[in-house]
C-alpha cells in the first residue's frame, strides 16, 4: 500500500502532541489561582501518576470535579476560582506485569481539603503513596514528604506555563525559593 508508511509517524506525532497539549496551561485569568502538588507513586501499584481529581465543595456546583493536569508526579490546574476543594481521587496505569491496567485511589468523605480565598499560587504539598490495609480490604495513605518540594514541583511544570501569565508568577516564586534564573 503505497504511502501508508506515513500513517504511523503521523499518529506518533499526534499522540506526542496530545500528550503535551493536555499539560499546557491556559492563559491566566487574574481572578483565579494555580493549584499544584506532588505525589511520589513509587510504592503504588500504578506505574505513574496520571490522574488527580479535586472535588469543589464550595460554592456548590453541578459539576464539582476538577481533573488536574499531571506531569512526573506533579498534579496542577490553573484558573481555579475561589472556593473550597477536597482531595477526591488519583490514579495511574498499571505496569506491564500488573494485574490491572489502571489503578484508582479514592479519598474518603472526610479527606483533607483547602480553601482558595484569593488569587495566587497554592502549593498543597508533596506526598508519598503508602500502602495500607490488606489484599482483602485494600487501603492507602499519603504521607507528607519534604523532597521533592515546592521548588522542584515548579521546575517540572514551568515549561507548560510558557507564554501565559502563569509563567511570570511561577518564575517569581521559583526564584524566591532559591531556584536559579531561567
Amino acid at each position: 500500500m503505497k504511502g501508508s508508511g506515513w500513517i504511523i509517524p503521523i499518529l506518533m506525532v499526534l499522540f506526542l502532541f496530545n500528550g503535551c497539549a493536555h499539560r499546557q496551561m491556559t492563559e491566566l485569568n487574574e481572578a483565579n489561582s494555580l493549584v499544584f502538588g506532588y505525589i511520589d507513586m513509587d510504592d503504588s501499584p500504578a506505574k505513574e501518576l496520571e490522574a488527580f481529581t479535586l472535588k469543589q465543595v464550595l460554592p456548590k456546583t453541578d459539576k464539582p470535579y476538577w481533573n488536574m493536569r499531571t506531569y512526573e508526579g506533579v498534579f496542577y490546574m490553573e484558573n481555579m476560582p475561589n472556593g473550597s476543594y477536597q482531595l477526591n481521587q488519583f490514579g495511574g496505569p498499571g505496569g506491564f506485569f500488573s494485574s490491572a491496567s489502571y489503578y484508582w485511589f479514592n479519598f474518603p468523605t472526610q479527606a483533607d481539603g483547602f480553601r482558595v480565598t484569593k488569587p495566587g499560587l497554592y502549593y498543597l504539598g508533596s506526598f508519598k503513596y503508602k500502602k495500607a490495609g490488606s489484599f482483602w480490604n485494600p487501603k492507602f495513605d499519603i504521607e507528607p514528604i519534604e523532597s521533592p518540594g515546592e521548588r522542584e514541583a515548579i521546575e517540572k511544570i514551568l515549561q507548560y506555563s510558557k507564554g501565559t501569565g502563569w509563567e511570570g508568577m511561577l518564575l517569581k516564586r521559583y526564584q524566591k525559593l532559591g531556584g536559579k534564573k531561567q
Binding site: S84, T109, A111, D112, W136, N137
Partner: protein, 192 residues
C-alpha cells in the same frame, strides 16, 4: 474486566460481611413492657449541622440518614476502623428523631459515631461520652448530641444540648407516663 476489580470486589465483600456481622443494635422500644428488669430505657437524639443533603449519602435501606453510636461499658479510643465486635449493642439513631432504646442498667460510653456514606466509605463522629446510668433508673434522657461540620465533613463543634422538655413530651406521648431521669452524656477528659 475493569482494572483493579478483584481487590475492590473483595473490599465490598468484606464490608458487606461487616454489615452482616455487626450483630443486633440496641432494640428500639415502644412500650415499657419491652424493657426488662435489668434494663433501662435510653432516650436521646443526634443532630448534624448542616444536615445531610439530598444525594450526599449514597446508601439505601436501614443505614440511610442514620448514625450508629457505638457503645461500650469501657472507654475505648479507635486508632483504626471499628470492627464487627465494636458494633454490638450500638444505638442506631435517625438524625433529628428522638430514639428510645433498651440498655443494660449500668453506666456506658458512647465511643464513636459511624455514618455509612457510599459503599464502604464511612464518616466518624467524635465520641468519648459517658452516660451515668444508675441502678434505680428506669428511663434516662442523655441529651441531643449536636455535631457541627464544615464543607469537608470535618467536625468543628460538638454540644450536648439539654432538650429535656421536648424529650419528656415525646416520652409521655410514646409511653404514657413514668419518670424520665435526666443524665446528660458527659465528655470524658483525656487522661495521659
Amino acid at each position: 474486566m475493569k482494572p483493579g476489580l478483584l481487590p475492590r470486589v473483595c473490599s465490598v465483600l468484606v464490608l458487606t460481611l461487616l454489615a452482616a456481622c455487626m450483630g443486633p443494635a440496641r432494640p428500639p422500644v415502644h412500650s415499657m413492657n419491652d424493657v426488662a428488669g435489668d434494663e433501662v430505657l435510653i432516650v436521646g437524639r443526634v443532630e448534624l449541622v448542616p444536615k445531610l443533603e439530598k444525594g450526599e449519602q449514597k446508601v439505601s435501606g436501614r443505614l440511610r440518614n442514620k448514625v450508629m453510636l457505638l457503645t461500650g461499658v469501657k472507654l475505648k479510643r479507635f486508632d483504626s476502623e471499628p470492627g464487627p465486635g465494636d458494633h454490638r449493642m450500638r444505638i442506631e439513631a435517625i438524625f433529628d428523631k428522638t430514639f428510645f432504646v433498651a440498655s443494660l442498667k449500668n453506666p456506658f460510653y458512647i465511643l464513636v459515631g459511624e455514618l455509612w456514606m457510599n459503599g464502604g466509605d464511612r464518616v466518624y463522629f467524635p465520641g468519648g461520652l459517658k452516660v451515668n446510668v444508675r441502678p434505680t433508673d428506669k428511663a434516662v434522657y442523655i441529651g441531643t448530641l449536636r455535631y457541627h461540620r464544615d464543607e469537608f465533613f470535618h467536625f468543628t463543634k460538638f454540644d450536648v444540648i439539654d432538650d429535656y422538655e421536648r424529650a419528656q413530651a415525646e416520652f409521655r406521648t410514646e409511653f404514657g407516663g413514668g419518670r424520665l431521669t435526666k443524665a446528660l452524656a458527659v465528655p470524658v477528659k483525656e487522661t495521659k
